[in-house]
Amino acid sequence: MSKIKTYEEINQKLKAGKAVVLTAEEVSKMAQEASPEEIVEKVDVVTTATFGAMCSSGAIINFGHSTPPIRMEKIRLNGVPCYEGLAAVDSYIGATACDPDNPTYGGAHVIQDLLEGKDIVLEAWGKGTDCYPRKHIKTKININTINELILFNPRNAYQNYNVAVNTTKKMIHTYMGTLLPNLRNATYSTSGELSPLLNDPEFKTIGIGTRIFLGGTQGFVVWPGTQFHTTRPKNELGVPVTNAATIAVMGNLKEMSPEYIQAAYYEKYGVSMFVGIGIPIPVLNVEMAKRVSVNNSQIQSSVLDYGTVGTPKLGEVSYEELRSGSIKIGGKKIRTAPVASLSKARKIANELKEWLETGNFEISKPVQMFPQNTSLKSLKETEADHD
């Protein structure tokens, strides 16, 4: 009988400093010589990580009450519009939000400025009510003056993503970077064999309640992410070959580090935010040992033409090819470039490994597993009633 470990056993070993923790890249290398049975004997936890631009990011902020108080019904932080429908002094600032007159500075930059301890101008308007008489306030806030600052990202850490190319004659600017005309470059974004959701493709250990590395501190998986899609085409190992599942994550932004949260502006596209996420995967049994053993040659991604409406698929390539510096599509050799940071992802995987090894991080059993067999609806255009 092959070995089966429990979360409790692994946590006890972690606390005692006796657990063996490897990064997903280290275990992939180990798997060239060791069988899954040997890996489950030797390894307790595998750390995975990613550091890429994740548009679906933002922060919940509570500003605290002024005297006299105001029911904030229009809110601007350094000119960036924030959501005003939460409550009197609560707001959500989306990473991609921006003032159309200043499109290069957005919500992600406000979040980064807050993290770096800078002062931010808060301006808010209300209609004035009996209990909230004030109609306008303009003041400065910073990370220490506000109550809560909670990162809440509804869709992060995509399980695989597309490779982007452009077959048209014009250069295009996308969230996958600048795509040169006539298939002159290809960009890719996941960290391949180090990627969190590619090491547990069927979500046997990742679910609601999973404790993770988030932006430099401990955070949690709080829900399946939006556009959670588990019925995408898969390869023979069961690994999706295109963008599939996602996770919603949450954590205390006040504890995070600007090193792992970074505002970004993409030319002619807009603002986004790089987010560092690391997920520990417990090697509970042989099946999980097989999953974490996956290597770049066994993970494929779909090459899509971002220049053409409908982004038609032009082929499939492996992460090994992508990392080699060039891929071949229709006989044509195309240069590849990453648009997410593997060096940072490695740093996160190693930092998380250290937290685990020093007993500062407990792995958690999900309180609820993710749904199975989900697919996506597209937005149909019907005639609106009150046009």
Partner: protein, 136 residues
């Protein structure tokens, strides 16, 4: 021997003359074409690195200018705020001169200034806006 970069702008009527040949033959200048854009019958531009004796380069430039070609020394350089780089790789996607590459071992960005042809494509490509033009 000195090395200097020039950007040449050709009016339509000068596009068919063998300038580079003369620079080599008559002025003993080594030429490295860093970038060339030629639109037949219209204008064209050449980014050249000239290497040779100082007086030869001066004479060669005089020769070019005498043929109504605009010739400006290229003093601008691409400046990069390395300490803020997150090694995302976005800039390497557009740098065909090979000045910006990813180190395949540690996956950090490598910037080889000597290969830069100042095409300026990396400026908008970097999501952190770390590239700037430095006019010396």
């Amino acid at each position: 021997m000195i090395k200097k970069r020039y950007i040449l702008n050709f009016p339509p009527e000068s596009g068919d003359k063998a300038f580079t040949y003369h620079l080599v033959k008559d002025y003993d200048i080594r030429i490295n074409i860093l970038k060339a854009e030629v639109f037949p019958g219209k204008r064209g531009s050449l980014l050249l690195e000239l290497q040779g004796k100082k007086e030869n380069i001066e004479k060669g430039v005089e020769y070019i200018v005498s043929h109504k070609i605009k010739c400006e020394p290229l003093d601008k350089r691409i400046y990069f705020q390395e300490e803020k780089c997150i090694d995302c790789g976005n800039c390497t996607a557009v740098c065909f001169a090979g000045a910006l590459t990813m180190n395949k071992t540690n996956w950090k960005l490598n910037f080889d200034k000597n290969k830069c042809v100042v095409c300026e494509l990396c400026i908008p490509a970097c999501p952190l806006k770390l590239f700037k033009i430095d006019f010396n």
